[in-house]
């Protein structure tokens, strides 16, 4: 069962990203949904990964390796941020499949979210790398 695009033809708030009119067919929908599902699963895994890294850091402390625990913090940051961002991307891709009307607009919105997720992940990675170097230098003494 499909739903109408929320909020009228443009769907969602904000400016329109497309005027194109196109409705994806069965195989196309399957491929879009697959990308959306794997994005959602990856997001859940990234959040689980962040928790696991926390456990790993705890174990490092238990083994009296505080430095090793501190150096895991940047990676934990990336996992947590990525998990949050890609949940939205997965949902946006699935919306292309589950709604009817103006699929191209919805695909463009999903791509816009994906670009945003990529951008924030690049920023988080940069911050994490700087944090990693700072922690590595500070804990060297």
């Amino acid at each position: 069962m499909t739903a109408q695009t929320p909020g009228g033809p443009g769907g969602f708030g904000g400016p329109r990203l497309s005027e194109g009119q196109y409705e994806f067919g069965g195989d196309e929908n399957r491929r879009i949904e697959r990308a959306g599902t794997s994005s959602g699963v990856w997001a859940a895994c990234a959040i689980v990964g962040a928790v696991l890294l926390g456990v790993l850091a705890g174990l490092q402390i238990y083994l009296h390796n505080v430095r090793g625990a501190l150096l895991l913090a940047p990676l934990l940051l990336i996992c947590a941020v990525a998990g949050w961002l890609y949940l939205g991307t997965g949902r946006a891709l699935k919306q292309v499949v589950t709604t009817e009307g103006n699929d191209i607009e919805l695909l463009m919105r999903a791509l816009d979210r994906l670009a945003r997720a990529f951008r924030y992940e690049v920023i988080a990675t940069g911050v994490a790398l700087v944090l990693f170097v700072v922690l590595a230098v500070l804990t060297r003494m």
């Binding site: 990203l17 174990l59 191209i104 990529f118 690049v122």
Partner: protein, 131 residues
């Protein structure tokens, strides 16, 4: 000519796609930087003179596995960025190219899921070795 062969993205749509391409390529670069960071982490986390064998396994193993996964992700993000650029710069078959990009994206996510599973296994291995 099928319907999706006939659809051509407009300039506004191409702008959104181009933005995704740029950040995908940037993410490829960031993943490459992460590969180097993980390799460095594997080395600088180890104190060969004072550490037990258990601690060395603890530090080096997960670092090398993560570095390998980040290197593969960097490669795939570069391909995604290149494919998205192709959607913008070529004419004809735009939706076909776009669906190929989504297939590639699916593979990147699978790889990243594998990375998390490997991290989980590494944690279990550490518990088994160090516990």
């Amino acid at each position: 000519m099928s319907q999706h062969d006939a659809y051509e993205f407009t300039s506004r749509e191409n702008e959104t796609i181009g933005k995704a391409a740029t950040w995908s390529l940037a993410l490829a670069g960031a993943s490459l930087a992460m590969t180097l960071a993980h390799l460095a982490f594997a080395v600088i986390g180890v104190d060969l003179s004072g550490s037990s064998f258990r601690l060395i396994v603890f530090d080096v193993g997960p670092g090398l596995v993560s570095a390998g996964c980040y290197a593969a992700a960097a490669f795939l993000f570069a391909i995604i960025g290149g494919s998205l650029r192709n959607v913008v710069s070529t004419q004809g078959n735009d939706l076909k190219h776009m669906l190929k990009v989504l297939d590639m994206l699916h593979r990147v996510f699978l790889l990243r899921i594998a990375l998390v599973i490997q991290t989980g296994l590494a944690v279990l291995a550490v518990i088994a070795v160090g516990g």
